[in-house]
């Protein structure tokens, strides 16, 4: 239920289940918006505001760590 005009980019909310993260950095390197960074061997959400909910990090995380939801939905 978004009030924004359709042309405006979607906003996403991304989380990392740290306990299962093995630090492969796949999510970090393939995120087109550089939302995620590696910190002490784990993926961390560093720039949450940039997330467009494209879901690429979730699709490619081999360890079921990432969830992405569309803000306002």
């Amino acid at each position: 239920m978004s009030q924004e005009p359709a042309a405006k980019k979607k906003k996403g909310h991304v989380t990392v289940r740290e306990a299962w993260c093995k630090g492969c950095a796949i999510c970090v390197e393939f995120c087109p918006e550089q939302v995620l960074v590696m910190e002490r061997g784990k993926a961390t959400v560093a720039y949450p505001d940039r997330c467009t909910a494209c879901n690429l990090c979730e699709l490619r995380c081999p360890d079921f760590c990432i969830t992405v939801s569309v803000k306002g939905e």
Binding site: A19, W20, K22, G23, C24, A25, I26, E29, F30, E58, L59, R60, C61, P62, D63, F64, T67, V68, S69
Partner: protein, 270 residues
């Protein structure tokens, strides 16, 4: 947000696979495909052989069977013959299916029995110690080929096609959505359906062959994939070392269990 947890045995997590192993990406594509088809968990029987990818059934809440090296297709054949109403999924690897189980592989395809085979091709025996497999490319190193392999390789998809499979597709973990779509089509197809999946092994293969990080290995797929339609316009030299992806076979051909049913019905009448 897709809910994977509904299909998982969460008490078995985290996954045993190495950091950056592609197999977890395939597992996720598979679960989305199962959901898309609306399959019930009890409707599925998943059978695996031995190897890293063959650990997969341990993580899913379906009927599951972890069998012996190279024999997943034989167990799966028995299940399909006895319980044709089940959706039978076979999880196997390049070594398991095409070396140790090579004969079962071609004969299951020849019979065109209604199984869906997800074949994880990582070009090596990962779990058993990095030995050369039938898909280890010439020049690539393995624990049993310390100076590089000098053998020719199998084209796994081509083998299934030649033997009579009614559906064959090739994809890789770089493209999890394409993979999901191919798995959907493979399950829908009545007959032997193969999805050959390029799933990098950064540990036993990548490290030894200096192929870089898991990210590098996945990026390689992006840069070197050629869709099958485009591959037809390229010369063999241009295709050298490339990964041809897409649906390679999708044909109608008589299916083994259905033929068997005809025989049962005929004998019942006589």
């Amino acid at each position: 947000m897709f809910n994977y947890d509904q299909y998982l045995r969460l008490d078995k997590f985290p996954l045993i696979w190495c950091s950056g192993c592609g197999d977890g990406i395939v597992l996720k594509s598979l679960l989305r495909a199962v959901h898309k088809l609306g399959l019930q968990k009890d409707q599925i029987c998943m059978v695996s052989g031995i190897g890293c990818s063959s650990r997969l059934p341990g993580y899913v809440d379906f009927n599951t069977l972890h069998t012996t090296h190279g024999r997943a297709l034989t167990f799966a054949t028995g299940i399909k013959m006895a319980r044709p109403e089940l959706t039978v999924l076979v999880i196997t690897g390049d070594g398991d299916a095409t070396a140790i189980g090579g004969n079962h592989y071609i004969h299951a395809a020849r019979r065109n029995i209604d199984l869906t085979v997800l074949l994880f091709n990582n070009h090596i025996y990962g779990m058993t110690g990095g030995q050369v497999s039938p898909t280890t490319a010439k020049g690539k190193k393995a624990s049993t080929a310390p100076y590089g392999s000098f053998e020719n390789t199998f084209n796994i998809s081509g083998l299934a096609q030649a033997a009579g499979a009614s559906f064959v597709a090739r994809s890789g973990v770089y493209n999890p959505v394409q993979l999901e779509n191919y798995i959907v089509k493979a399950i829908q197809k009545k007959g032997f359906s193969l999805v050959e999946i390029m799933s990098p092994c950064p540990t036993a293969y990548g490290r030894r062959n200096r192929e870089g990080t898991p990210v590098d290995m996945i990026a390689w797929q992006k840069e070197n994939s050629v869709p099958v339609a485009k591959a037809g316009q390229l010369t063999p030299e241009e295709l050298e070392g490339k990964l041809i992806t897409g649906i390679l076979v999708d044909i109608e051909r008589s299916e083994c269990r259905a033929e068997y049913q005809k025989l049962i019905d005929r004998l019942a009448q006589s």
